[in-house]
Symmetry: C2
Subunit: 349 residues, 2 copies
């Protein structure tokens, strides 16, 4: 069965050019895809012509979209026919299986929240991010997933366990990790660490045999890849994610500085180039296919704002694959079971 | 006037050897220091003899100390004459001006809390850490201070502003940064970001002309050094700090891996060695003199558990310097003024 993806052609720093080229790339790599391009028809057709590809797309025209730096609340609410809103309505109407956008992150989350129903039993959605880790130790794949990184700033224990389930299925099915190791981000390994919410989350996770819970993990374990799924509330996850980006920027700048500074350093860097290239490839966000927004009945993939064609193509493949693997249905079933088992614990008194 | 420092001779991964050698080093560098060594007299004297230095120290004997991996609450409470407890009582009795310990972090904080009065008007103390930053942009010094990193996990707005004052004076007087730029760690720059506590903190800081408040900073700004003082609650600060340590470990491991892997990479790294050495020196915790515990009437410095003699000597110099600069008194005055101005805002209703 073909996988149907709605693509926000107007979202992203390099929209619509790189977005359209990403769609073409994805379509050429997988002929089973049906991609709907949502955006300014004239611009889209120009880009398609420029690329000169034989791939065919459905185009839905709109002359409205949320800008990258626009207030997402205002944009999503007032621009009813913004490209991202059309995409999420297509998902809700069952006309596509998933959506992909490299546009305004807040707008993508809000538009999905407005138009796509949340999985029954889930109270909050999560923005998840795949990030590169050291490959030396336990982590066989060299990457891991962290959630939430900004959709839900404060969480209850129940919500955090739901995030663990979401991350578990995503990492198992999309990243291909068997029995993903689930870690709860805390300030120490002991189960008594952290506030009440974290202590309760620890106990709930420990008593959830479907999940491979490895206990609390600390900040140092994030880059080391001690867990395949890092569970945390959105405020923490957002700061940690941006800090990783900051560290990567500093490393890059340091390399550039060294390259310019001395001839010997230039030679040294040249000799290390194959290794650096390998490392760069592994830490390159374009490889990972974007950040899934989990908790909705259908998957929305938020690709990085800086996405190029390759990153968009990967995001489309991930969206198609998630739909093929029925990840949202698996999450729904598992969380339904969990909630039922804990119906009394979570009853509103 | 001589600065009098109590040194926990039994605390640290390399105690008492490196601790004693650190004391000797500090005493030889600054003859104005009066260092009291607290610990097992026999071991201390053996180490002094081994080092064969002419420096003289007061020794206070105890055969009790809190182990590095011991539960700090139990250790501090039950071992009344643990070396760290004697050190903090010496501070409280006015027999020394400050204490230094490379031992169990929790025990150092708890022992100080038990024995040293908190500055009037301060509700919570903070553990602060100096960390290296990129030097490229605004940060002239290549390091910054973050607090709290684990003493107070959850904070009110008032407490966060108090932390800003503490960090301000420490960075100004000890790190020599004029008008330190104070940043509030948040998930976005806008003043409306974060929860109620952060929004209120933002407003309070903006209306505190004594502080050079630069607004909210994000995770990416931490390694970039956009602020000289990063204000955050202890839970977040602890995760961020440990994550920095984890990233440093991964970088080190990657370098080792590259060195072993290929002859060309070995040569490349050799050519880069002077730069790497410089970078290492700047990211070396032994240079920074330990983490101050701020908010008490007198300063306690927690040196890194792995401290060698050099790190201990630096921590002793920092402790002496803080006392000479009257940092605690400056914090007390500034916070007194601030609390008075906001007496009505903070009144318990």
């Amino acid at each position: 069965m073909a996988q149907r993806i709605a693509l926000d052609a107007m979202g992203g720093d390099h929209a619509p050019g790189e977005i359209i080229r990403g769609a073409i790339r994805a379509a050429e790599q997988d002929s089973d895809l049906e991609i709907t391009l949502v955006g300014d028809q004239k611009q889209i057709e120009e880009e398609l012509q420029k690329a000169g590809s034989g791939a065919s797309f459905e185009i839905i025209h709109t002359d409205s979209w949320v800008e990258m730096d626009e207030d997402p609340k205002v944009g999503v609410k007032e621009k009813t026919d913004a490209s991202i809103n059309i995409c999420s309505r297509l998902v809700n109407d069952g006309k596509v299986d998933a959506l992909v956008s490299a546009g305004n992150t807040g707008a993508t989350i809000l538009s999905a929240a407005k138009n796509i129903p949340v999985i029954e039993g889930i109270e909050r959605t999560a923005l998840a991010t795949v990030y590169p880790t050291a490959k030396f130790n336990h982590n066989r794949r060299g990457f891991a997933l962290m959630l939430d990184v900004g959709a839900t700033l404060k969480c209850t224990a129940k919500q955090l366990v739901h995030f663990a389930f979401m991350g578990n299925f995503y990492v198992a099915d999309i990243l291909g990790v068997e029995q993903p190791r689930i870690g709860l981000l805390n300030i120490g390994e002991e189960e008594t660490k952290g506030g009440d919410v974290l202590k309760q989350t620890y106990q709930l996770l420990r008593n959830t045999p479907e999940l491979n819970f490895i206990g609390n993990i600390e900040g140092k374990d994030i880059p080391k890849g001690e867990a395949d799924v890092v569970v945390t509330e959105g405020f923490m996850g957002n700061v940690v994610l941006k800090m990783m980006e900051g560290v990567a920027d500093v490393v890059k700048q340091t390399g550039k500085y060294a390259f310019k500074k001395k001839f010997a350093w230039k030679i040294g860097l040249a000799l290390l180039a194959p290794g650096i290239k390998k490392l760069k490839r592994r830490t390159d966000y374009t490889e990972y296919g974007g950040a899934p927004i989990l908790g909705f009945r259908k998957l929305a993939i938020k690709a990085h704002g800086r996405s190029n064609a390759k990153a968009i193509a990967n995001a489309i493949h991930v969206a198609a694959n998630s739909s093929k693997q029925n990840i949202c249905a698996k999450i729904e079933d598992a969380i339904g079971d969990f909630n039922q088992r804990h119906a009394l614990d979570f009853a509103e008194v």
